[in-house]
């Protein structure tokens, strides 16, 4: 095999892995949109907040230390204990559930039946709020996420593939990040369990009912409020997972919230309401942008990834407005 081919293969594989990371974020969007028609821009900030909380709990940080110090002139930062990763994750999930309940009670509940754009705006407001809130609660410095996920290229794979290239070519073996592999695994588990949840539990079926038809769901006695809390809790959990993965990759800090922007083209491509769409869309975007950067990028100066994902999704939609998994729309009068 030629090195060029192997490099392309490597780019594709890495693209797929990156796509999984995008899908992880997109999944949170889809869950909420499906159940409540809300385009939740705060999903990215939720991931950041979840990750900050996790790290904060893990390292025994005192919440709002900065604020307390400023007001009372004290000097305190840490409780001085460490919480095991597993327990910290559980606690963080608890925080996210609490968060979901607060969001439902104080925001969504008051915005029932509003136009989608208003709900969208409200989530941006929520994002602003959480950005400031998270920083005040846990501080704005960069934190390291350490929940024991390995990282770095897989040596075994590199050595195993080293011989694939033809003699004399500059080839150093296939590179795949272990973190990405873990992320893929986690994503698979997440999707499978979400599917199982929605297919085989009562709550899951209620969720699907609400997604199909709000009115109908209400008329058979499904509490919309409860459903929303559940959905936002699940989205919070998904955000936590995404936050862990991305946090492990790049540290837990402000920029983590911007991963939302990476998920948007995925949504466009896969549709706002389709979980498989989010996965496949993520993979397409991941591979697409990495391949483009690899093949075309150097010719036009690189750093194309930010926009290429969007342009790809845009092109796709122009030719297939119903999205990846949508059916052809027949407009009725």
């Amino acid at each position: 095999m030629s090195a060029d081919f192997l490099y392309t293969l490597e780019v594709i594989l890495n693209g797929l892995m990156a796509g999984v990371m995008y899908s992880l974020v997109a999944l949170g969007f889809v869950l909420i949109f499906k159940a409540s028609g809300i385009f939740n821009y705060a999903q990215g900030v939720m991931a950041l907040f979840a990750a900050m909380t996790l790290v904060g709990i893990q390292t025994g940080q005192i919440p709002f230390a900065h604020l307390i110090n400023a007001i009372f002139g004290t000097e305190m930062h840490h409780f001085g204990w460490q919480v095991p990763a597993f327990l910290a994750i559980i606690l963080t999930v608890g925080v996210m559930v609490l968060f979901a309940m607060i969001v439902e009670k104080y925001i969504l509940h008051h915005l029932v039946n509003q136009e989608p754009i208003i709900l969208f705006m409200a989530t941006i407001g929520l994002a602003y709020f959480m950005e400031g809130f998270g920083d005040i609660m846990w501080g704005s410095e960069i934190k390291t996420m350490d929940v024991g996920i390995p990282s770095g290229g897989s040596l075994w794979l590199e050595e195993y593939t080293l011989g694939w290239a033809a003699e004399g070519e500059r080839y150093w073996g296939m590179y795949i990040d272990k973190l990405d592999m873990v992320a893929t695994l986690v994503a698979v588990i997440l999707v499978v369990s979400l599917t199982l949840f929605s297919q085989y539990t009562k709550t899951g079926r209620a969720l699907r009912a609400v997604a199909d038809d709000h009115q109908a769901a209400l008329s058979v006695g499904i509490s919309l409020r409860a459903i929303w809390v559940i959905v936002w809790s699940i989205a919070g959990f998904v955000a936590l997972v995404a936050g862990i993965m991305w946090g492990a990759k790049s540290g837990v800090q402000f920029s983590l919230s911007l991963i939302a922007l990476k998920a948007l083209p995925v949504l466009m491509l896969g549709g706002f309401t389709s979980i498989p769409g989010a996965i496949i869309g993520g993979l397409i975007i991941g591979v697409g942008e990495k391949l483009f950067e690899f093949a075309i990028g150097p010719m036009i100066g690189g750093a194309t990834e930010n926009w290429f994902a969007y342009v790809l999704a845009l092109m796709f939609l122009v030719f297939r407005p119903q999205g990846l998994f949508g059916e052809k729309i027949i407009e009725r009068v």
Partner: protein, 358 residues
């Protein structure tokens, strides 16, 4: 309470369809204009002019533009930052390529260039709707910023890609550059903002505006009544981008004086303008101004209160600012989803009915 409408009757359609049909509103408008043009320039400090009034006016123009697209034509766009960047870079190129050109022409030409770019990015709107379109316009945002950052021609091959507005004047009065008086900048922006608001009002009350609103409210019915959806949407994109381009042009040349595309015209700009439009009120020209005022003044006020007034650490204040602005947005949406303009409308209706409740 303030309204006395008896005897204020209309004998012609021209009178009936004027912008401020009620005498009280009309007078109030003239008073505000008089203050803005005749009083403020004498009393305004450099700080108020440079840090409050100029950005307010510039954002108001951008909000007007986006409101035309989102509020009137119903096409959700998140590409405002990108279009503002086009306006800014067009201005830079025009200023440096034609040093003799007066600022007014520069700004308007930049607007037209942006309108053209906007139209191109408006094309997908014919097939993509709603949030899909919103996300699609992000393609414009990211692509335009990348392009302007990548092609050195746009920034005259300067080392860092920064563009700086050289000194340019009009009728012998310096408008841009470091020696321009803030008052001049304020007046220049004011004239453009008022002029463009007038144009926006004209466009939205006439045939074109109705075709936009028809598309927004019920596109199928609009088409059947004779509105060509492509023309309506593209014209909305063009007009909107024109406004946004002018705003970008002023943002760069009068307000900041220098800009770097990745930072000054980032996605946050797009969101900020969208906020102004939503907070101010979709489909309202007045709302665009109020929304801009809110989004410009709110942080400045908060900062001045928290840091200047209460002496809090700046970072804590900045975080609180986020919290407060975010909370306010949510509260506003809950209290009045149709924005400040709607609040003003309701208030006005209440005052007109005063003392009756209905």
């Amino acid at each position: 309470m303030f309204y006395r409408e008896s005897g204020d009757f209309k004998k012609t359609y021209r009178d009936d369809s004027q912008t401020f049909p009620i005498k009280f509103d009309r007078r109030r408008y003239y008073v505000v204009m008089a203050i803005a043009f005749l009083v403020l320039p004498w009393f305004i400090t450099d700080y108020i002019a440079n840090a409050v009034m100029i950005p307010f006016l510039v954002w108001a123009i951008a909000a007007l533009g986006l409101n035309i697209l989102v509020g009137y034509c119903g096409q959700l766009s998140l590409g405002t930052g990108g279009f503002m960047a086009v306006g800014a870079y067009a201005t830079y190129k025009l200023m440096t390529s034609f040093p003799g050109m007066d600022m007014f022409s520069v700004v308007l030409l930049s607007g037209f260039i942006t309108a053209f770019v906007g139209m191109i990015f408006g094309l997908p709107s014919l097939r993509i709707k709603g949030f899909y379109l919103a996300v699609a316009t992000l393609a414009a945002q990211f692509f335009l910023v990348w392009l302007l950052n990548k092609v050195p021609w746009f920034y005259n091959y300067s080392a860092s890609g920064q563009i700086t507005a050289p000194e340019r004047s009009m009728f012998g009065i310096i408008i841009t550059g470091p020696y321009a008086s803030p008052v001049t900048g304020y007046l220049f922006c004011l004239i453009l903002a008022i002029g463009l608001a007038w144009v926006a009002r004209n466009l939205t009350r006439g045939r074109l505006g109705r075709s936009w609103m028809a598309i927004r409210d019920m596109d199928i019915a609009a088409e059947i009544i004779g509105v060509n959806p492509l023309m309506a949407k593209l014209s909305a994109f063009a007009v909107s981008s024109f406004f946004v381009g002018v705003a970008g042009s002023l943002f760069f040349s009068v307000y900041l004086g220098a800009a770097e595309v990745t930072e000054a015209f980032s996605i946050n700009v797009s969101f900020a303008v969208l906020f102004m439009v939503i907070i101010g009120g979709l489909g309202s020209i007045f709302g665009s101004f109020v929304g801009a005022a809110f989004m410009v003044l709110m942080p400045v006020l908060l900062k001045n209160i928290l840091v200047g007034g209460l002496g809090w650490p700046t970072d804590l204040a900045a975080h609180l600012e986020f919290i407060i602005v975010g909370a306010l947005i949510v509260i506003f949406l809950i209290v009045e989803p149709h924005g400040l303009a709607q609040m003003a409308r309701v208030l006005k209706e209440k005052l007109r009915l005063w003392p009756f409740p209905h």
